[in-house]
């Protein structure tokens, strides 16, 4: 029998689960031999309240390994996460939502109640509609990363996480050794050509394509920050590289920080402002600076703006 494993998705999009599938053929022996999956709603039919739905207590089977994707934004997520913690020996937070809040934590920058009311008042919504409240989980006051609510044993960010690293985490657990994970920044894994400080003193929006020769290797393209684009490589954890270059850079597109901060407790907004300032770039040229926290708005990093301060200078 394999190592018992439970997989749960909280406030997630299923992208992390697809990233697990993207391990490809190597996944077959992992899920059929090495692991014994006892609970995983996206793949199998184990139910919370018994297989006929007659129970009253949400129950997940005991497992050696637990994997949680998604952040914690409502009471059901919290209940599931607490049950996972109780039943799993090693609990892994997989993906940036679980580790740093991810995109859904952009809601932390708003007044949730007002925003939700607005959602039920759009142009196509029937007039008079109210926020649903029967048989649906009540929201928490904000979106939390998993480690704000329970003890997490291992964090693997990424939006989505890199399949190779997911496999490394699983295999290292089975082999009883610490996983080998990249600890540096996206820039440290980026082969683009850097010439040092240039004449860039403002960053531009990505409204024009980068300059490069189609088909030429990435190391023949100049660093996108040096081309004048906002690129969050300096302040973002490495891990996305798959074919010798960070994923977005390989598509000739600047990084937006989806693996979260380089240091676990780093603040991508402040770190980026510092990085720009130290290169003589005017940080005020960044439109919508708060969205630099778009992947890491949990842990109290992103908060609603006060009304009078709605417009940043």
């Amino acid at each position: 029998m394999g190592v018992t494993t439970a997989l749960e998705g909280l406030g997630s999009c299923s992208g992390c689960e697809i990233a697990i599938l993207n391990i490809g053929e190597a996944l077959i022996p992992i899920i059929t031999e090495a692991l014994e999956i006892v609970h995983a709603p996206v793949l199998m039919d184990h139910k919370y309240f018994g297989q006929c739905g007659e129970g009253v207590t949400l129950t997940i089977p005991e497992a050696t390994v637990g994997i949680v994707t998604g952040g914690v934004s409502n009471h059901e997520h919290l209940e599931v996460l607490e049950e996972m913690r109780k039943k799993c020996t090693v609990l892994i937070a997989l993906g940036t939502c679980a580790t740093h809040g991810g995109i859904p934590a952009l809601m932390n920058g708003q007044n949730r109640q007002e925003s939700w009311e607005g959602i039920y008042q759009t142009v196509t919504t029937d007039p008079g509609a109210k926020i649903p409240h029967i048989e649906v989980p009540e929201p928490l006051d904000r979106v939390y990363a998993c480690d704000e609510k329970v003890k997490i044993d291992m964090q693997l960010p990424g939006c989505p996480p890199n399949p190779e690293l997911i496999a490394e985490v699983l295999v290292s657990l089975l082999e009883g050794r610490p996983p080998v994970l990249p600890g540096k920044s996206v820039c440290d894994t980026c082969p683009t050509e850097r010439k040092g400080k240039g004449d860039v003193n403002k960053v531009k929006r990505f409204l024009t394509n980068a300059k490069f020769t189609p088909g030429a290797p990435i190391d023949e393209m100049r660093c996108l920050l040096e081309q004048g684009y906002l690129c969050m490589g300096p302040v973002t954890a490495a891990g996305c590289s798959k074919r010798g270059a960070p994923s977005c850079i390989s598509a000739r597109v600047p990084c937006r920080g989806c693996f979260g901060p380089v240091r676990k407790d780093g603040n991508q907004l402040l770190d980026m402002m510092n990085a720009l300032a130290s290169n003589g770039i005017d940080y005020k040229s960044v439109v919508d600076r708060r969205s630099l926290l778009r992947f890491s708005g949990a842990h109290g990093q992103l908060r609603p703006v006060k009304k009078q301060a709605d417009k940043e200078d």
Binding site: L21, N22, V136, A251
Partner: protein, 450 residues
Amino acid sequence: MGKVLNIAPVSRIEGHAKIAIHLGDDGNVQDAFLHIQSLRGFEKFIEGRPAEEVPRIVNRICGICPWMHHLASNKAVDGAFGVTPTETGYKLREMCQVMAHINDKILHFFFLAAPDFVLGPDADYSVRNVIGVVKAAPELATQVVKMRQLGQMMLDKFAGKAIHPIAGVVGGFAKPMVEEERLELLAGTRTLLNFACFALDFAINNVFAKYLDVIGALGVIKTGFLGTVDRTDGSLRLYDGKQRMMKADGSYVDFEGIDYTKYLGEHVEPWGYSKMPYAKFWNEGFDMSLSAPKGIYRANTLARINVCDKISTPKAQAALEAFRASFGRPAQQTLLYHYARLIELVYACERTIELLEWEGITDPRVRAKVEQKAGRGVGIVEAPRGTLIHDYTTDDNGCITKANLIVGTTHNIAPMNMSVKQAATTLIKDGVYNEGLLNQVEMAVRAYDP
């Protein structure tokens, strides 16, 4: 005393939902609901963001169909900024979108739905899953895993990221395709087309033929259908076209996406976070009654196969003709979503090949000149789960001031509730229920691939 069966979570689906079946004192079904459990708030938290950034934020609505949100969003931003993508930019986007459909359909049919058919709806839950399929049919399963991986990695390599893509940009695409990439993609897609044809034959002979009785009964309801068709010849389109709303009697009305607010409304019930779109312009209101539904239509594969006049590629057209000969137009049987899904799989492969064989596909002019400005744009694509609508308004600085999204799955929320009720009512009598019967209720949901 009556009781409630809480089937939670609904499993082998993409989203978060539960089924509640309310039994009366006599053990018969009084009511049944599909409750949608999550709300994240994308419509609101993209407000204030620079519009060109939004296509790489909203892709996180769905990790299974991120390309759909990414590209509908790009089309909406094109509209708001008044930009027309270059022809090559348009076709590179379409190629990625159609190619993303290939993986999605392989995933849904073989990984999520097939366990019910291959192992049987009554098989124990511990084996009724993809791992059970791998053990029961290792050769088929290995082939399926290989094919899904091939499609996924082709997209990942060409466009940088297959999940949560970044290569579509306002005005077109972030990088041109070079000849070497084109040849590699073409070879891979030809392999996928062979597999798609095999998958369709396999399902027709080994699945649909065996389950004809179940198909004729489980979750069957009568509704209208919404899809996208070619503006000139009414053929199936996934990336771009006009919208077609068909009534259950087969009559239809075509409209342009920009006018969607005149045709569609969204109803809200207090017991689920998802809104329920309905055909407002039928002027009959909204009612999920099984005998006399009002305003109810369906989207996703079966809807598209029903509304299109034909399919422009030969193998998929032949499959459509065979399908219509058996089931007519429009076909209402819910489990036929699976059949329609495999017809679309063949189309998606054939269309990808057509695009890769188009002479201009490697042209370096992939992005039009773009300037941020105030405006409004509506971007629509056919996501695997239905017609996907992104509607943005921008300010002078090109930042979002207002957004309205109608996401593919939501079109089918009301129909899924009806199918759940139909299935539960038919299957559960006099207090007799078991895991196998309850799984069949879930199968009625799974067909919609929510």
